[in-house]
Amino acid sequence: MRINLTSVSVDDQAKALRFYTETLGFRLKHNIPLGEYAWITVVSEEAPEGTELLLEPAEHPAVRRYRTALVEDGIPLASFAVDDVEVEHERLVAEGVRFVQPPTDLGTVITAVFDDSCGNLIQITEEKGQP
């Protein structure tokens, strides 16, 4: 068994596709129209054959309540690995991304949390090497 797909629920699929590709730098893998919505997945440029991230419409009322509660407490819906959190933070801030938690050294890992402007908080993490 393998994890080939995971998802984030987004307010607006077109806006989300722009943010996840143009701002974050992921690559579009599938964009299949399905009536009102589309099946849109992106992958990492560093692992184009890796796990796909589905940009799923947040149309179910329970999804909205769930996301509102998570955002209120600052809990990210997804977490992505980066080589250098400080560098990504600087790059994304310059792109106008709002961080709710700046780079924070937690000992074994450095994390930061930003608003994806599509209704979610996203965490980025950098594993620290052994001292």
Partner: protein, 103 residues
């Protein structure tokens, strides 16, 4: 809620330490710091209750930023401790006189 009870707990003191380190943290960030930096692995619900105690004592304030609820440390209530038991200056520290002891 009096401030003495509010700070008479290791977890609540650690929460204040972390809010002094960085103002304006979410519950998620605080919980991450508590477990990673202090080894305090209490549930988010338990930490949330500690935050309620600190807020009732006036030691933290919360504010919404965007759709997130963030927490700030407020030191002002701690002034009452220093006023009740003033910190002696070097000049004040001397052996009590016979008169002091009789009193």
């Amino acid at each position: 809620m009096d401030i003495y009870r509010a700070i008479a707990d290791r977890t609540r003191r650690a929460i204040l330490d972390e809010l002094v380190d960085r103002s304006g943290q979410s519950l998620f960030e605080l919980c991450g710091r508590l477990i990673m930096k202090h080894g305090i692995s209490s549930s988010r619900q338990a930490i949330s209750q500690h935050l309620d105690v600190l807020e009732a004592a006036g030691l933290i304030r919360t504010r919404r930023e965007g759709r997130s609820k963030l927490h700030w440390f407020v030191g002002a209530p701690l002034k009452a401790i220093g006023e009740r038991w003033p910190i002696a200056t070097d000049e004040d520290i001397s052996n009590p006189t016979e008169e002091d002891i009789e009193e």
